[in-house]
Structures are given as C-alpha cells and as structure tokens.
Amino acid sequence: DTAVSQTPKYLVTQMGNDKSIKCEQNLGHDTMYWYKQDSKKFLKIMFSYNNKELIINETVPNRFSPKSPDKAHLNLHINSLELGDSAVYFCASSQGSKGGPSKNIQYFGAGTRLSVL
C-alpha cells in the first residue's frame, strides 16, 4: 500500500495544453509539498500546504495552481504548458510543518515525468 502516490506516472502533452497531476498520502500527515526536479536533478520546492492551508508559495509562474481538497490530497494544475515545464514533479508529505525537526522528514512519491512537446 503506497504511502504517497501520484498519478499519472508519465505525462506527454503538447505546448499550450492544460494538465493536472494528483497526489494522495495515506500516512495521516498534515503537510504536503510539490517539488520540481530538472534534468540535472536539482530539486526546487514549489508549494506546501498544511491542513489545507497554503504555507509555502515559491516564485512559480501563476500558470501553476495547487489545490488541496483535504489534508490527504494535493493536486497540481498547470495551464498553458510550456517547453520549460518539462521535468519530474514530486509530491511529498511530512507529519507537520511545526513541532520539531523530526516532523519535517519528507516522504516522497515516485514522481510524474512531464514531457511538453
């Protein structure tokens, strides 16, 4: 039973399209994250939600919009896809964003490889 699961695993689409990636965690965690990993493996945080509240919103184009319907789910919608959006997107969760460093240990999904043609 996968702890952090994201769908789809692969996403190939044309420039200008709109797409969504879904993430679910069954760990009972309060905090969820979206990261972008480029071709050089550099990992950049995009967003974080704690109990459905946005707590981290890094400098990301407003074409990217996260949505958290409940604390177990964090979806990522991307409008008007561009070539530079091609990357692997990782969802992660942690026990909480506060309450000590051990609660920040990240549990990652397997990633969604997005290719924009």
Binding site: K41, S48, N50, N104, F108
Partner: protein
C-alpha cells in the same frame, strides 16, 4: 539563511571501495541535517539524520555521517560500496523557521563493477 553545499556533482567508485560524499552547511542557528537517497526512477527517501546528540549517525545499509561543527560539514561515508548503492544523494537542512527543507544540488554516486 540556512543552506547546504554538495561539493561533488558525480563520484565514480569501484565496487567494494570506500566512498565519501561531501556536504557543507551554512547556519547561524540550530542545525538539523539530513541525507536523502534517490534510486533511479524513484522518489527521495530519508537515509539518515542528525537532529541532536551523538554526532555520528548511521543508516541500516552501512552508510554513516558525522556532524562536524568546527568544519560545518556532514559528510556521508561508506567503507565498502555495492552496485546497488548507485543513486543520487542529497544533503538537506531546514530553514530558519524549521518548516521548509532545503536540499543541496545532489551528488551522483556511480558504483562500477
């Protein structure tokens, strides 16, 4: 502001040889340090962590890291690597508020037969 620097982007090594992956941190407050590992086509997973107490921390698969305050380092070591250790390794810390993990650029460990 907290940050981590991984000094090597790639480390090739032969099987059964020892390895050290270097990480230096920058912090003016309490230091919490982590190593995460990313196997091919997978997400990251925690390898080991230093939060407090003993400066030498170990993982279940033979890796260890030592928190060195005077050298601001948290290098990862293994005395004898296996082919299966081939992966990307990320050093990480927490930001000042303790709610955001800051990752280094990663070091690719490539173990050759």
């Amino acid at each position: 502001a907290q940050s981590v620097t991984q000094l090597d982007s790639q480390v090739p090594v032969f099987e059964e040889a020892p390895v050290e992956l270097r990480c230096n941190y920058s912090s003016s407050v309490s230091v919490y340090l982590f190593w995460y590992v990313q196997y091919p086509n997978q997400g990251l997973q925690l390898l080991l962590k230093y939060l407090s107490g003993s400066t030498l921390v170990e993982s279940i698969n033979g890796f260890e890291a030592e928190f060195n305050k005077s050298q601001t380092s948290f290098h990862l070591r293994k005395p004898s690597v296996h082919i299966s250790d081939t992966a990307e390794y990320f050093c990480a810390t927490l930001n000042t508020g303790g709610f955001k993990t800051i990752f280094g650029a990663g070091t690719r460990l490539f173990v050759k037969a």
